[in-house]
């Protein structure tokens, strides 16, 4: 009976972990994607915009 309870808990934990690991992979992908996109934005707009328009924020945003 004890084994039974343990088995049940293990199966639940596995399913929960599986969900976590999918989320981990998603995070990694998003990070890669963001890095690529940022480097592309910086490549495409190396010079700061001469226009005084405010609608186009600079590529980097670290202050």
């Amino acid at each position: 009976f004890l084994e039974d309870v343990k088995g049940q808990a293990k199966a639940e934990l596995q399913a929960s972990d599986c969900r976590y690991h999918a989320q981990r992979r998603i995070t990694q992908l998003l990070q890669t994607e963001l890095l690529q996109l940022y480097s592309r934005v910086e490549m495409e707009a190396p010079a700061p915009p001469t226009s005084s328009s405010c609608s186009s924020p600079p590529p980097g945003r670290a202050d």
Partner: protein, 294 residues
């Protein structure tokens, strides 16, 4: 469960007169009331009898590990499965791998790739390779069988993973096995297929890698997949064998290689239930106790 020949005879009789599966359904219901579910008994049942369609998806989910043996965990785990599905879907949308007009089978492919860390960087330049085509065929067939998209994705994923894990090593040997049984059942056809050069050109990947997805209509296919999911890939050999036997006369009359291959890739869809029934009989004849036959 049903070693009693009397009972087997009765079942066969019911099948003939249209009460198919009355007893089987009852005994499956008893098995499904157990908590925890006995996976071995469920596999044995599924090896021996066709699953009643109302329980098929549930049994597949349990046998493939999508749901755990403890029924009182099903709601919790089912919830996790659904969340995982939604998370992946959402991320793929944000990353623009999919959009609302992407066909669902392609969505499932991207989801599967994401989970296996195999998502291509530039999907627009990727031509689908053969492995993707196998995946898409199986997805299309599963979609015909399963209505709920969450269930459908999980079943595709776990069916494919389990198939590769359990039978990956056996699949390359299935053509040889088919040749062996064909030599037992119909040596003249084997000789003909050899002499026309058709034998090595038979649609083995359609039969043994896609498990007949795209070859058999869903009503016949699901009875074959019952056996695959519960632990036999040998059944695939007998379905292929029965297809060859059923169209023996036609095949003996075609001397052109491409004609044979084209015909076998697009077999008529009317007759497939009978083909599968005969294939299961033949499989049980050769493999004896199906519990131990892989």
């Amino acid at each position: 469960m049903a070693d009693d020949p009397q009972r087997n005879f009765r079942s066969a009789y019911y099948e003939k007169v249209g009460f198919r599966g009355v007893e089987e359904k009852k005994s499956l219901e008893i098995l499904l009331k157990e908590n925890p579910l006995d996976l071995e008994k469920l596999s044995t049942f599924s090896q021996r009898f066709p699953l009643p369609s109302m329980y098929r998806i549930h049994v597949w989910k349990v046998l493939l590990g999508i749901l755990p043996p403890h029924s009182d965990s099903h709601a919790l785990v089912g919830g996790y499965r659904k969340e995982q599905y939604q998370d992946i879907m959402e991320a793929l949308e944000v990353m623009r791998y999919i959009n609302p007009s992407t066909p669902s089978t392609h969505v499932y492919l991207r989801m599967f790739q994401l989970e296996n860390q195999a998502l291509p960087r530039c999907s627009e330049t990727q031509l689908p390779d053969e492995e993707n085509e196998d995946f898409l065929s199986i997805s299309r067939a599963m979609e015909e069988i399963v209505d709920d998209p969450v269930d459908c994705y999980w079943l595709i994923k776990c069916f494919i993973n389990q198939f590769h894990m359990k039978f990956g090593d056996s699949v390359p040997h299935l053509p040889k096995s088919l040749e062996h049984y064909l030599s037992q059942e119909e040596p003249r056809l084997l000789t003909h297929l050899k002499s026309t050069g058709a034998l090595p050109q038979l649609p083995f990947s359609l039969w043994f890698r896609r498990c007949f997805a795209g070859c058999l209509p869903e009503s016949s296919l699901q009875r074959v997949w019952d056996k695959v999911i519960s632990g036999s890939c040998k059944i695939l050999v007998f379905v292929a064998l029965e297809i060859l036997l059923s169209y023996k006369i036609m095949l003996m009359g075609i001397n052109r290689l491409d004609g044979v291959v084209r015909f076998l890739c697009n077999i008529p869809q009317e007759n497939t239930d009978a083909i599968v029934t005969k294939a299961i009989d033949l499989w049980q004849k050769y493999c004896g106790n199906p519990n131990h036959a892989v």
